[in-house]
Subunit: 173 residues, 2 copies
């Protein structure tokens, strides 16, 4: 799909069919993720790919019952190795770059997903400690986003956006 | 450009020619930015578009002399309205979502830029207070990334990436 069309047509998908996502597609999707720009090419990003229903159900519970997680074909948990980025950029690395770098991988990933006719959504609200326990993450690996994905089922709502005039300023605020 | 090609071929560009970036292209680029997914569709993102050389030079100084900023055709400063996201999601909004939401707009923006044959790079290291003063940002508007853009000049280096095996885990860490 053409890039602007992909960016503009992409929607958050929260209803998935039972169709599986192939390993080949997952490889393309993860390869797109790691092509993201990142601070100093440290690549502190880490991804956990979950296909086990039981784990998805635990993740849904840790995300304040966001059932969409348990109904996905695959769930990707975007994480950051805080030691790795902290070693390079200390507190700015941990508090800023780790979040930005992981977020950018997630957007690449969600665009690659959409290009394949697959849907996804971004879950940002979850209990980090619970997710760490479920995924057996070391203390230094922080979960930053949960992305359930699968083939869309039913209507996908289009969310309106503020006009550019409302959010863009020229030369200064 | 096809989406995966765009993601995979995009490079950070730090040498720009003198060619200008048109307003029409800027509109497309900013429209792509705001198509990003974001927490609760709050859209706390704000963008400052700078074309004045003098302001660029001040921004370069505030970014520890990163001259690339002063040599760009246009500089976009990605910001977040912390009051807006804080009202909706309190500390998680301010500490996590604001950074993620802005980062995702930046990636959309950088992909749209690349699609047009324009280059950009992500500057994350700067003195936030200085940037706030230069751009007359209100206290609640936090600058999160500086993106200089312009037509590429000369060779663009390709940065290697870790293999997927190094960063992807299955089912748990």
């Amino acid at each position: 799909m053409e890039i602007l069309k992909c960016i503009n047509s992409r929607r958050s998908v929260r209803n998935f069919s039972k169709k599986d996502v192939s390993e080949t597609d997952m490889d393309d999707i993860l390869m797109a993720a790691v092509r993201a720009p990142n601070a100093g090419n440290i690549q502190e990003w880490r991804f956990i790919v979950v296909r086990k229903r039981e784990t998805m159900e635990m993740l849904a519970e840790a995300s304040f019952q966001q059932k969409v997680i348990a109904s996905a074909a695959v769930v990707i948990i975007s994480c950051a190795d805080m030691d790795e980025i902290g070693k390079a950029y200390s507190s700015r690395g941990k508090d800023v770059y780790s979040l930005q770098d992981a977020a950018v991988t997630c957007q690449n990933l969600m665009l690659a997903v959409w290009d394949k006719g697959i849907g996804s959504c971004w879950v940002g609200s979850f209990d980090e400690k619970k997710v760490q326990n479920i995924l057996v993450l070391p203390k230094n690996v922080r979960p930053l986003a949960i992305i359930p994905l699968g083939y869309p089922q039913g209507h996908r709502e289009k969310q309106p956006r503020k006009s550019l005039e409302e959010v863009v300023h020229h030369e200064f605020y």
